[in-house]
């Protein structure tokens, strides 16, 4: 049930965000500071999410196979690999490290 609540709230919220941009008159959100903040907000969220999903184990921090996978993804990004290849590199390396370390 909790999951359905989360899905419902997210769906409504994200749709509202998309729609409001199409509906409000231009100029309301065009101030530079607002735009800067809108561009920086995803940077903060994505960075925090990347770190947490790589190093979090419940409420503790661990260094495990996921870190190796993420390092592989970073290398793939530096080599300008396409999106799917970046994700695949992380998955394959994580699985490989886990298989080797048991």
């Amino acid at each position: 049930m909790n999951i359905w609540i989360a899905i419902g709230v997210t769906a409504v919220g994200c749709y509202a965000a998309k729609l409001i941009g199409l509906l409000v008159p231009a100029g309301v959100l065009e101030r530079p500071l607002v735009q800067r903040l809108a561009a920086l907000l995803p940077v903060a969220l994505l960075a925090a999410l990347t770190a947490q999903q790589t190093f979090a184990d419940g409420r503790g921090l661990v260094l495990d196979a996921r870190a190796a996978g993420l390092a592989a993804a970073a290398v793939a990004l530096l080599l300008r690999a396409p999106f799917l290849l970046v994700v695949a590199a992380a998955v394959v390396v994580t699985a490989g490290v886990r298989a080797m370390t048991g």
Binding site: K18, V24, A38, L41, L77, F83
Partner: protein
């Protein structure tokens, strides 16, 4: 150099870009990104969501970063509202895409609620790259339709496939989520401002993990954005003489260039 010449040629044919070329661009983006719904389906199933819940997310939310964030937060044990809040904040950028698109698409009011679901990174990137209203509309529609259909189909395949695989962690599939976030984040780290925000957010997100309820540290980490902007503003106020106007113009251009961005 050759690239510059080519770009100049395209500019000169403004408004005369053939429909087929627009469709080709749109299909390229739509197909490539649409296929990565598979990674979402797998990640979502690995987070404990049923295939129906996973598909509902792709059909109803349809903005990749928010979807990954939500299932990640739920898997970490976050309550539904903190999890949804993180996903929502990631989706806020689409409002700014909508602002720009509404001027370019010039849609009738009755059509806007239907077009809204497709207002995401990829459709914006393709639409903004087009020279005329006709090609903007074609680019937006073809990218949106291709992506929506493929993203939902591959989500279903990933969700069902992951269930068949069983323990997704053993296959390293729990690394797909953070890798997706990193791939989305990397092109955004253009200046020291973005890097400072990212660094502060990592410290906050990890440092607060042991002391705050699940899902909340990410929301606190979002405060890194206004904090760094504030610090930057103060520093500029200190160091500036007559450069104020230049700084403002520069900021505005930055914001415009930021608008189209790769997602998923």
């Amino acid at each position: 150099m050759a690239e510059q010449t080519a770009r100049a040629d395209i500019r000169r044919e403004d408004g005369g870009k053939p429909d087929a070329a627009v469709v080709r661009d749109a299909l390229g983006v739509g197909v490539a990104v649409g296929l990565s719904g598979f990674a979402f389906g797998v990640t979502s199933a690995g987070s404990g969501l049923t295939p129906v819940q996973t598909c509902a997310l792709s059909l109803l939310v349809f903005t990749g970063a928010s979807q990954f964030a939500l299932v990640g937060a739920l898997a970490a044990g976050g309550n539904p509202f903190t999890a949804a809040a993180g996903a929502f904040f990631l989706g806020v950028r689409n409002a700014f895409y909508g602002l720009r698109l509404s001027q370019l698409l010039a849609l009738r009011r009755a059509v806007r609620p239907f077009a809204a679901q497709w207002v995401i990174d990829e459709t914006t990137a393709v639409a903004l790259a087009q020279p005329s209203r006709r090609s903007v509309r074609i680019g937006f529609t073809v990218t949106g339709l291709t992506l929506y259909v493929l993203w939902n189909l591959t989500t279903l395949l990933g969700a069902v496939g992951a269930q068949a695989v069983g323990n997704t962690d053993a296959w390293g599939l729990d690394a797909a989520g953070p890798a997706v976030f990193l791939a989305l984040l990397a092109p955004m780290l253009k200046t020291t401002t973005e890097r400072a925000v990212a660094g502060a957010a990592v410290v906050l997100g990890l440092g607060l993990l042991p002391v705050l309820p699940a899902g909340v540290p990410v929301l606190v980490a979002a405060l890194a954005a206004p904090a760094v902007l504030y610090a930057e503003g103060r520093r500029k106020d200190h160091g500036k003489g007559t450069a104020g106007d230049d700084v403002q113009n520069g900021d505005r251009n930055d914001a415009q260039n930021d608008a189209p961005r790769e997602d998923r």
